[in-house]
């Protein structure tokens, strides 16, 4: 990917993340002490599912772009590749964990 393309998508994803991140923090604070049945009930709403998926998918994308940019600034090519793969594994977990929200 070209540097300018990355730069552009980093900003587009950031723009989406401003409202969705604050929404997630709000959800987090509201459900910190929630019982299992209560949180399951709120996760049944389409609105909550939509924002949850949007937040985690866009945050994962934004984090991948940002982290790899940081690696490229401070490490040599070999390390950039290694750290990028490790980041992919970490972020794949995020997608796997959040998948039930769409599937169920």
């Amino acid at each position: 990917m070209k540097g300018s393309t990355k730069w552009y998508w980093q900003r587009v994803s950031a723009f989406i993340l401003v409202p969705t991140s604050y929404w997630f923090v709000f959800f987090f604070v509201n459900n910190l002490e929630a019982s299992h049945s209560l949180i399951l009930n709120s996760l049944n709403s389409f609105f909550v599912k939509f924002f949850m998926i949007l937040f985690f998918f866009v945050a994962t994308f934004h984090a991948r772009l940002g982290l790899v940019t940081i690696y490229q600034d401070y490490f040599n090519e070999k390390k950039v590749k290694l750290y990028s793969r490790l980041t992919d594994i970490l972020l794949l977990l995020v997608i796997l964990f959040i998948l039930p929200v769409i599937l169920i």
Partner: protein, 124 residues
């Protein structure tokens, strides 16, 4: 793969406000990226491990962990607010030195107020 030159070591820079806000933007971004799998697990466990969710919620409600969440929110909010500054810069707005200082100190002040509200919300 790009073969761009590597950044010089951070410690050779004189610490100025813009540089501090730039490096803390990166650090807070890394902190939030690391927290993502844990947050996703918290949500996912509602479906695939209901008892695991209860244990995780109990852990999240420990006063010590709540204290970590306050730092987590401070970092996230710094990243978000400072990100808005970069949005302005994208459109070449707010780049005069006095504006940069005003915006940067505003970010810190707004973040402190918002973090205080966040702390109050999770502890009450």
């Amino acid at each position: 793969m790009t073969t761009s030159p590597l950044s010089p070591h951070l410690q050779i820079h004189k610490p100025v406000l813009t540089m501090i806000f730039s490096i803390t933007h990166r650090i807070s971004g890394i902190i939030f990226a690391i927290s993502l799998p844990f947050l996703a697990f918290w949500i996912g466990s509602v479906y695939f491990a209901p008892s695991g969710f209860e244990v995780l919620s109990m852990f999240f409600n420990l006063p010590f962990v709540k204290l970590i969440f306050i730092f987590w929110f401070f970092a996230l909010n710094h990243h978000l607010l400072n990100g808005l500054k970069y949005f302005l810069w994208t459109f070449a707005k707010g780049m005069e030195l006095n504006q940069v200082y005003l915006i940067s100190y505003s970010i810190l002040l707004i973040n402190l107020i918002m973090t205080a509200i966040f702390s109050w919300s999770i502890f009450s």
